[in-house]
């Protein structure tokens, strides 16, 4: 079951799905994640390949184009939902933190 498999998304899963809101091929995803996170998060090529395979199987992304060995993907509705749920979960965590500590925003 897809949801059981990805109950929560890891950082790497989150950013891969985020990148695939626009059609993108595997090698570009690695570059984009580096750019979006300013190098904070890196996805290794093996991990990327296996996660893309798992996401396709789970119906979170779909293969849109195959040009030779280059494959492009795009997020599906189920993937969008998973991404949004993860976002909400992270927001809830942040809100709980703020409520308990009285600190908010980017303060240390």
């Amino acid at each position: 079951m897809a949801r059981e498999k990805f109950q929560t998304l890891t950082e790497q899963m989150f950013y891969i799905l985020l990148c695939l809101r626009r059609e993108c091929c595997g090698t570009d995803i690695m570059v984009q994640i580096q750019r979006i996170t300013q190098g904070r998060v890196s996805v290794g090529p093996g991990t990327l390949y296996n996660l893309l395979e798992s996401f396709v199987q789970a119906g979170y992304i779909t293969e849109t184009k195959v040009e030779g060995r280059k494959r492009s993907y795009l997020i599906t509705e189920a993937g969008e939902k998973a991404l949004e749920e993860e976002y909400r979960r992270l927001r809830t965590l942040a809100a709980d933190y703020e409520a308990q500590t009285g600190r908010g925003g980017m303060e240390p």
Partner: protein, 469 residues
Amino acid sequence: MKHTKRELMPLYSYYDRSGIAAHLADMAAQGWMLDKLSGWCWRYRRAEPRKLRFAVTYFPAASQFDPGPSEGLETYRDYCAAAGWQLAADNAQVQIFFNEDENAIPIETDPMVEFTNIRRCMRKSFLTSYCFLLLLSLLQIGFQLWQVWTNPVDTLSNGFSLIAVWNWLPLDAVIVAELARYFRWQRRAKTAAEAGSPLPELRSIRWLSFLLLGWSGVIPLWMLLSAFRQSRGMLLLMAGTLLYMSLMHLLSFAAKDALRHLRAPRWANIAVTFGVIIALTVGGMAGLLALIFHNSGSGWLEDHPPVETYEYQGWTWAAYQDDIPLRIEDLVAVDYDHWSTEAQVDSSPLLTYGEYSQRPRMDAPDQPDLEYEIVTVKAGFLYDLCKNDFISWVERNNDQLPQEYWDEYRPVGTAPWNADKVYQRYYSGESVNQFLICWPDRIAEVKFDWDWTITEEMMAVTAEKLKNA
């Protein structure tokens, strides 16, 4: 200057990722770059000495029967190349990459994904083949132990049979140790992956591989030595069988590689390669049996060829002139000298077992005959097992007979035999001229001619000869 270098049997387990990576990095620093990978040999080519990082990864969908890398594998390699990881060599699911950048992003950055991938690959290759091999060897060991239990004297005195019992045990020990290590690693790796920590290492046990390799060399030598002790024909037959098996191995590999070269699909390669193995096995077995049957009368394969053969009633009969410890002439006066005396002795570190007979030619049916077996028990704990082997053989059909028809050994007086225990065979309550004589480390079963009257003097002579044989 050599441009290639080979490492025969490097003895690294393919799951020992850090061990292999460190070894390949050392080789690269010395100017040897990994070029080709197989189970038996790693080939290197001469290169500029470089400081490189190596990574061993697995691609579960790959197979040694694939004509080339699948689309998925090529995509995987492209991703790796985009991150600076170049393929050094591969062997089925094992992919070895190198990177010049010491700070390159590792190929695996998510421990759980990495763990799942390794587990999938191990289930598909290592675990399946190890479990199959373990099952096969356990069946083989079970069969051999059953042979020891049901026919201990024959089995334990024969070098071949003993090898058959022991040759699988070291392999089993290695398989069980490896499986236990893997499952322990799997448990620890899962915990680490769930915590997001790097996976623990699983290193090769190289000394165990050396031991197994040594044992694999000892077995054929032992087989050849046992064959040599039997006859020259058996030695040639055994050497031929070992050569044929090696040839079969090479041919199946050649068939697989040729089909890969011809870009045959995976299913066709599997079908043809296994077809070649089955055909060569069946053909080899048929050839072996034909050779044995063809030479069965010639004495070529026997440990003691007959001194002569003769025809009687359309059949060919063999006559032997082996030395035997007890002869008919030692027991009764006879006026006949065309005896065939045969001795077949098998020996192992546990037992020595001899079967002896003295028979007249087939054209002298009125002459007596004499048969006896002697077991010298070198390993004391086997004594009762051997003794019961003789007794249970005589009594083997009693459970299907009423008690009055039982065939059995009954204890009789020991004095004339100078033995610890003596049994005489009784069939349907009638004594027959067959005795089982038990000395401290020796057991003899004697079948005197059926119409002799066995006197105490004959018993004493028999005991004296057989005890000191």
